[in-house]
Subunit: 339 residues, 6 copies
């Protein structure tokens, strides 16, 4: 089989520790031909570290010289849209970091372009590849949950405002805790319901702690330059009456530092995702089912493989361009509701 | 001091185990002069058990013979309105079981009548008298929470659809889990915010489990006669941008059988109510504060005492007629949103 | 319906605290007409305590005066056989304490007589009425265990040699830990397999601690008069290749003071009885299922009711005369193997 | 001192990770001169990895060229007998992996040959070298257990059918869970009793799960090629009335994935091996003794050293040829009983 | 046997709930003939409650009318001395509440008088009768501790300043936490060393919290009237170089509300008293020994019985007059050291 | 900035693993120019390992050739005094391992010399740099403890007599558990009180276990050569009535192997250091405050940096020469008291 040629756009930490190692483990399908960063030196160093032939500080040259089959976009959120559009103009499949974009319209345009060009555009929501999510899907398929009607999804940090990068810069990221953390669990919640569009959305965002400053657990942030939300709360109601409660925070006066979980309630059974527990009835009695031997999956590897499957027209559970557009629209409606 | 004369309307379990014992412990202020029930025999038996002089099967005769200063209403929800109005017509203060009524208009009318007559009308939300709630209030007063902006309030049962009484009968109760359980934690959440009226309300109600039947933990209910919600989920957004997430269930496929709690998030500190924990910063470090010696209060006794204080014009933290009207309107808006 | 007339034979603790209270709760079906003990005074006192009309110090007179429909035998093991045979000669149904008898031949003769006379003879193995056993049975019926092929059954005490009664007297009891404790879990294990007769039995009994003396947790026993086994270990193999490992002790240098449990292994699932846990596969993953809301049953009441059902020809899960004969033969074969 | 020359027969995982590292740590006594495997290339690679001079694909050449003083046999069970006999023909001491052989007769012949030639033949039961077993032995020697009369020995896996090697191939291994796992704890149990021959043996083997297939925790096995037992249960009774209950499984619907333990019951004290706990009386009271600082021993190193001690005529607690013959006979009688 | 006649002096709670019930359970040896309190009415009521014939409001009349053989003194500490002396003048044995007195000289005089008159004078340190202390004594006797050389003794309350009685009144009680709580554990520590007199004593007392006021866990105390120590710390060194660290508090900012314990360190073993744990070596390894079945003794009953034994010249482990004098002198030296 | 030149005196483990790595991390301020050990070869090897230019076997030559600005003394305790004095004669700042010296006079002379020469002499008590101690200091500064009046300080090992080095040699070390372990927690306790000199000191030392031998957890020691204390207990009372209880052991029959902790009691709050817990009142209720996110500091790095700050006249919390002299005098008084 001919190897797919991949180019990495954005030479930061996520490329270095997630995407490049995953692609290298899939070397029977794909070869990384180039890294493209803002700074030639850093791009070159990263390429050398991973044994990649080419490094660029602009995409134009990269497309010209390398003609990749696919690109992986690992840049700040506001660049996802232009870079993905450019990549599709070069007939590249696109594996884009989350969130899809910083506006719903952008995400819709990206999906349209992909459809029009017959290309695969997918978003890197790796939690879909956890063993827990695979099991949740099997439980739904096997009918163990009955009809799913309510989901509580949360991704809460107590003092996890990142002290590095652009996470607190609205212009570059489009938002804060909801854009960075909330989208992960929102994507899963939407999956569990079949990715419908809600008919009602209500929500609020807050920035008390981010603007006040204080002790940080992910480095020290600058409260003067903090202009995103440190917490977002939202409620989605769907045409079939299902509902989602969504909570996300960079900073909240809550117990745990990291609390990323979903509770999925169905007519026959309910699931708490981490650790996976199924609440149902067995032999006529109320029962709690645990799964003590779930393996810890390499979720980035699995998600990259799922993207490659999609590129090759195989069945895949990667987040599609259409799903990304729905998710981005919901995010935008939450921000609208809270303003 | 002259003793206040009290009459009990409704001779069921809540009168027998909560209100009558509490009033008897307050015998320096109040004397129970009559019990009024649908069935003379049962009312008479309950009166004898507690050493109460008179028993009636109608209120007309009771008012004529006993001329009480106050009445305690312990009847199904749909009777709260007519009985409270009648009591106020007889110039009685009214201590009414929760919820206030089965419609917002009724609750508003009750509040208007009380104001007009200069009488005390109050609702029996006893959780206000827990040591935990008293401590929460002190923490807010002392500024330990800063500005309170989000509250998660829940009262969840796994399979707690009552197998007795009228709890599953919409005509008599006006609703299910929200009317019976949700109002308790909603009342507390509203207190924590100063009892504002929300500008946006979204919500959904469900009845999958109640209508399907199954194992019960509070006796066995009849799924054929189940016409209320077994679960209600709602989101309230307030003019000052504060928000409440509310969850209540008689039946839900969740872990715990009983999970009644509030999490109250403020700009300086956050509180989990049971067991009371304060998450904040102390001496520049993130800190969790526990209170290992909170006493377990006799919450009915304290709430009845608070009602009597209100009747006598003293400061009191009992739920007022105006608060009851706000709460009832919110309940009605949740039901509207979900239909 | 005409009430069944019951007589109690044996006026000791088990009659006072188990059988009489259970029968009195079933007063719509049965009336206790007499108590028969060795000592008239004690029998009379017990009868008075429970409001029973007649007390006797011999059964002859009791049968003559009271003509009971059924008798409950609560005497030392060596009296079970003669008293049950006499009762059946008077056409009485018999509810006999465990173990059935002190020899296999006696138990077989008792079963033959019951069959011949068309009477119900049953043994009081109450653990059959625990919620856990009912659930085990349902799991088997629902196919959740597949084929059951091995059972570990144990009833171990660390230092539980009774310091009262006849428990250490071989002449009266026929044996020690196996006769008194082991039979309970052996009966359950046999039920789980369909009450087959094993084709191979191996076993050993011990009396090191009983004969040496020491600290007791159920009073102080007399090591000089100790002539039963303090521990019995056995292995049963059945024609279908299923097997049972049985362990019972009054005294053993083991961790827990009381350890009464069964592990039941099947081709599809395995169960630990206390607390009830089902080990199996769900949705393709290894799963452990707990049942947090099993109710604690009144097992004596349920077993007495099951006996009455049997007397009246209704379906019943009480231990039958035939089962008792099989169990007694196995006990005898264990003792033979160990001598 | 002249170094002993050692040859390794069988170039698999057990040689690579256990025996070779242990021998190399004992380089003051022994030198590995050769590795002998089925495949020259793999043997050569292993030799290179460990700095061993010679590699062979047949033993004939190895004996001719290297003339070792001792061999370590790490091949499938059915080769233990011919390879040990051949080694002894070349006057080599033999350190053979467990189990001794696949038939009792073979094991007896091996022991006879060793005795006749004055050579050391020993089996690698490393659990004898755990700190726990050393302490058990000291407790017995110090009289803390009194007379040992019953042992429960088990080595249970829930879904531990190996997905590699020959573990499920009866021709090569002679059996399944009993041959591979059960022999470890059986060896210890026999040690605790002085390695007597039982006068009665009863047992059963099962293969329900192995033949049905399903989720594996040690890789995935092929149920079509599974022809050994997945579980074996047995009971041994000895002339002095002591007894052993033995349970071993590759697959069983039980709680823990790995449960390897012994309970050893004596007249004065009882021991649970892991974690080591002694149940006895101290100062007249029932006491539980824990040993919180037992060191984790390098059990392969210690067992190899014990074998070398035996070769040199020093005291040693390694499993002897005679013990191996007794153990193998018991294994054979368990298989006979279950067929 | 003739019954001993006992009189109770002091009609408070300790008489009502401890001494009188214990004496009544020992009715084969002793009969309570009188209660003597400050208030005739209360004394009469207590006598009636317990079926005691006589009640007095002065001891003179009591001695005249009842001529008791022994008295039990349950009055404030400053009355122990005059009442005990008076009782011995009437040839009565004396069972006196702890502490012995409020000065060392008083305690010495009491001991001299008892010796001179040949009477039993004993103090009610009931902790000597716990099963734990009995076991500690057996361990010492059996040599399991070797030579005892250091003891940490503490009786700490976090906020346990009693809100009733005279506990905070120095004139009546002679001191605070040391007098009321510390003496209990000091008595045990001295027992463990053979009740020697220390050659060096150092100590400090504090009253910060008692004088500042705050939340109380034993009612609310009046900080204005608090003139005793709320905490006392001391170190005792003995001629044989053994030492005791003593800590006692009514109020201390420490974790647990009640922490009453001793750690006793010997050359061969060390004991933590609650829960009783012995740290030593067994079979050459460091070992921790627990005693899971120690019974909970009725310590007042046992101590009263021990006093009666002493009165009758039988062996007894009750605290003697001489021991009480030593203890009181140590207490006095601690107070001196801290002033 | 010119780099400070540092020389290491003493080439043992503490230099290799603590001081040299810390100094190398501070390479912007300091450069290690020489290592001086007893054995040239070992000194050379250590220098090579860490890339240090010079190695010496005597200090004379080292001072002549290298002229360091500061020395770090890592030798046995009895060399601290002569080596520090010599260093200061060469106008070097001195960072000396704990304890300061083996006599109080030596420590006082060292402090005088430093003062006289205007040099920094400091001792390496690294526990001062734990996050817990920093927090304690902040709590005191913020007034959260009120007035600190009692401290329990302990550093206990169960069987931690080192089996290597000079730890059990009184001539070289000056003492045992107190000199090696006790000084760490004594230093902290003195800090918490402002480093006052006590007016009363009482104490005892023991050597029962050290002289008897037995199982060791830090290697095996030689009881014949053991001439230091294995345990030291002391009590310090200060002019302001504050007090310290100090316990230190190499060997003690106690539960934990390592128990290093301080409890610091103040009028408003009390602190347990590990894990840091503050016991106080919040909002009128008794409260326990935990700090779940304290970072684990690199305490040697921080202490070395603090020493360098002191050398440069910056604020520093390193243990000063004067504090070392006070501490050494207290140690000496404890030894005196116990002899």
């Amino acid at each position: 089989m001919t190897l797919l040629k991949a180019a990495i756009i954005g030479g930061g930490n996520i490329a270095d520790t997630n995407h490049i190692p995953a692609l290298k483990q899939l070397s029977e399908q794909v070869e990384i031909v180039a890294i493209c960063g803002r700074d030639t030196g850093k791009a070159r160093a990263l390429a050398d570290k991973h044994g990649i032939a080419n490094a660029f500080d602009n995409t134009t040259e990269m497309y010209r010289q390398c003609a990749p089959d696919l690109v992986v976009i690992c840049t700040p959120n506001n660049l996802h849209y232009p870079q993905a559009m450019e990549a599709m103009d070069h007939n590249c499949h696109v594996f884009c970091e989350k969130p899809p974009a910083i506006s719903a319209q952008n995400a819709r345009d990206m999906a349209s372009r992909a459809a029009q060009k017959g290309l695969t555009l997918a978003y890197n929501f790796q939690l879909r590849q956890t063993s827990e999510w695979a099991l949740l899907t099997r439980c739904q398929t096997d009918g163990l949950l009955g009809e799913t009607y309510h989901i509580k999804a949360q991704f809460l940090r107590r003092r996890g405002i990142p002290g590095w990068g652009y996470f607190t810069d609205k212009t570059m990221q489009g938002g804060g805790a909801l854009m960075d953390l909330g989208v992960h669990v929102l994507d899963l919640a939407l999956c569990a319901l079949g990715y419908p569009m809600p008919d009602h959305v209500l929500g609020n965002t807050y920035d008390f702690i981010g603007k006040a400053g204080g002790k940080g657990l992910l480095g020290n942030w600058n409260p003067q330059k903090f202009d995103v939300e440190d917490a977002a709360m939202a409620y989605l109601s769907f045409p079939n009456k299902a509902s989602i409660m969504l909570s996300a925070s960079f900073a909240l006066n809550t117990q745990a530092d990291k609390d990323r979980n979903l509770e999925i309630f169905g007519s026959k059974g309910g699931v708490k995702l981490f650790p996976f527990t199924l609440h149902t009835e067995v032999a006529g009695e109320l029962a709690d089912i645990q799964f003590p031997y779930l393996e810890e999956a390499d979720i980035q590897l699995k998600n990259t493989a799922a993207f490659l499957d999609a590129c090759q027209g195989k069945p895949s559970n990667v987040c599609t361009a259409e799903q990304g557009a729905i998710l981005q629209e919901i995010v935008e409606r939450i921000y609208s509701a809270s303003s």
